[in-house]
């Protein structure tokens, strides 16, 4: 990270010019903890063993309770437990230097982040699904989804017209209740679809958990974040 100065006029006085940032601040006891944005819920359960094997202290995450801000007692890490959709927001603003989030979230909302590692855990698919039985969908189907952007660009790329119906959850209900003809949703095993009498028509894309890093933080806290990227990458390949 950039060198600090105790002088308020820093940057204008003569200091020895030094090329490079490596090592600076990494072992400094006064270094603030690394803030890590994590998605609450199912994905976190899939992530936790991998983070642990990458050397992140995760005991504090396994402790029961509803605390959303969890500081590792040794002071190296601060975890923020967030709604998955909000992970990129916290990291983009630099409130968290690092985050872990499903690629579906990144695809849907657009972002300006580094995504150095695909962890390969929490594997799911975004699929187009429709009623398992019954008539084929009309030429301009009504499509219910919470992935509004992914759905629009997928249909647009195929030149296929449709009516988009934006929902925020329980998307499977839409065809059952007659609100929509088809759904675009994320599936892991497909069991929820089956129980709601839906079948996968096409896979739109595969998604899994991704490590994201704030653009400035990667450079400013290189000595801290680069080893973390390397160990997360190593852990995700074993």
């Amino acid at each position: 990270m950039a060198r600090r100065s105790s002088d308020s006029e820093a940057g204008r006085r003569s200091r020895p010019l030094r090329r490079g940032t490596e090592g600076a601040g990494a072992t400094d006891a006064s270094t603030p903890p690394l803030s890590v944005a994590l998605p609450k819920g199912r994905l976190l359960e899939a992530l936790e063993p991998l983070l642990r094997s990458a050397g992140l202290p995760t005991a504090i995450l396994r402790q029961p309770g509803r605390a959303l801000l969890r500081d590792d007692p040794r002071g190296g890490y601060r975890y923020l437990l967030l709604k998955p959709d909000d992970v990129p927001t916290y990291v983009e603003h630099g409130t968290c230097e690092v985050g872990f989030v499903g690629r579906d979230v990144l695809m849907e909302r657009g972002h300006d982040l580094y995504c150095p590692v695909d962890l390969g855990v929490g594997r799911c698919r975004i699929v187009l699904a429709g009623p398992a039985h019954g008539r084929p969908p009309p030429a301009q189907p009504r499509v219910a989804t919470k992935y509004v952007n992914v759905t629009q660009s997928w249909f647009a790329a195929r030149g296929q017209p449709m009516h988009l119906i934006a929902l925020s959850g329980s998307v499977e209900l839409a065809p059952l209740s007659g609100l929509a003809d088809l759904v675009v949703d994320i599936v892991e095993t497909g069991e929820t679809l089956r129980q709601n009498h839906l079948a996968v028509l096409e896979t739109i894309c595969d998604v899994s958990a991704v490590m994201v890093v704030n653009r400035s933080a990667l450079k400013l806290r290189r000595a801290r974040i680069l080893p973390l990227i390397r160990s997360v990458r190593a852990a995700s390949r074993t």
Binding site: M1, A2, R3, R4, S5, D7, S8, E9, A10, G11, R12, R13, S14, R15, L17, R18, R19, G20, T21, E22, A24, P88, T89, E92, H93, G94, T95, R109, G110, H111, D112, L113, Y114, C115, P116, V117, D118, N214, R215, S216, A217, L218, K219, L220, R222, L226
Partner: protein, 326 residues
């Protein structure tokens, strides 16, 4: 009150907010005027085709546009001031001898494409240096940017040098339809995704070797030596020599900040042709200032001159300054 609300991302400043902005602006202004830069102001909106001539393909989603009723032509609220100054230099200032040193303060408007950063109107202060080539011109404006943000109260920061021509030269050997996805993966430093995109594009081996190396080629000066061993193309040699020359020229200035390099940086305006840079500091999460060399932009407006410059993002600078308790 809701009837009187502002569009998303627009805001008023009042009293101490204005004072803070004025203090920061005054510090930057005094730094650039001392360095011999002459102030210019450019209009809030222009014809889109004129702006696009400089900026290249504009992402329509990021622009505020409207049709001028009297002419039917499309106008765009300026998303960038550098292209406007290039137009000014090639038209009204075409008889002025180089080097030309110009500075500006003003707002640009960009519609953010994702919802986490709703800022639309970005207050900027910057300079353009026309007619001075690399590396002297680059070192002059980079040192000036550092001096200006330091005088505005920023205590510690990192100056990062980059050069997009490495990636551009490698991309030129690949089917253009694959460029966007390759650029996106490069910008994300997503090694695996880049690998897949290069495979899907059937990238030739030489271009592939360069592009695959870029996500890891960032950090301190050792990156340049590492790049020289890995990348043996003509474009790589030229880009590395250019970065080294600028770093060496910076050594001879009053710059006292740490310098880092990123050879895989591909974001930013398409008009950059050589060394570009950003000033990074803790707080805002985005660069405090950024700029670079654009030796072909003025030519697009009819005056073939080399040039380089930078823009400071006032709000980010204020955030970074607050963080330091300045």
């Amino acid at each position: 009150m809701n009837a009187l609300r502002l569009p998303l991302g627009m805001r008023d400043l009042y009293a101490h907010e204005v004072s803070l902005r004025e203090d920061v602006a005054a510090a930057i202004r005094s730094s650039v005027r001392e360095a011999g830069y002459t102030p210019v102001t450019t209009p809030a909106f222009e014809y889109e085709d004129v702006v696009a001539r400089g900026l290249g393909m504009l992402d329509l989603r990021e622009l505020v546009r409207f049709v001028e009723p009297t002419t039917g032509r499309i106008c765009v609220v300026r998303p960038d001031i550098t292209a406007q100054i290039a137009r000014l230099v090639a038209t009204r200032l075409k008889g002025e001898p180089t080097p030309l040193r110009l500075c500006y303060e003003g707002s640009v408007v960009r519609v953010p494409r994702d919802r986490s950063r709703p800022r639309r109107q970005l207050a900027q202060a910057g300079v353009e240096l026309v007619g001075v080539g690399a590396p002297a011109g680059d070192a002059e404006v980079i040192a000036l940017a550092a001096r200006a943000v330091a005088r505005a109260g920023l205590g510690s920061f990192l100056v990062e040098l980059a050069d997009g021509s490495l990636a551009a030269a490698a991309l030129a050997e690949i089917d253009p339809s694959a460029h966007e996805s390759i650029r996106e993966r490069l910008a994300e430093k997503d090694r695996d995704g880049l690998d897949r995109a290069l495979g899907a594009a059937r990238a030739p081996a030489k271009a592939r070797r360069v592009l695959e190396a870029l996500p890891d080629l960032w950090g301190d000066a050792s990156v340049l030596a590492r790049a020289r061993r890995t990348l043996r193309t003509e474009a790589a040699r030229a880009a590395l020599a250019g970065l080294e020359a600028v770093a060496a020229a910076l050594d001879r200035t009053d710059l006292r900040a740490s310098i880092a390099f990123d050879l895989g940086e591909v974001r930013g305006w398409g008009y950059y042709t050589g060394v570009r840079f950003s000033i990074l500091a803790e707080g805002p999460g985005v660069a405090v200032a950024s700029g670079g060399r654009y030796d072909t932009l003025l030519g697009r407006y009819g005056r073939d001159e080399r040039a380089t410059g930078f823009a400071i993002d006032m709000e980010s600078l204020e955030l970074a300054r607050d963080r330091k308790g300045a």
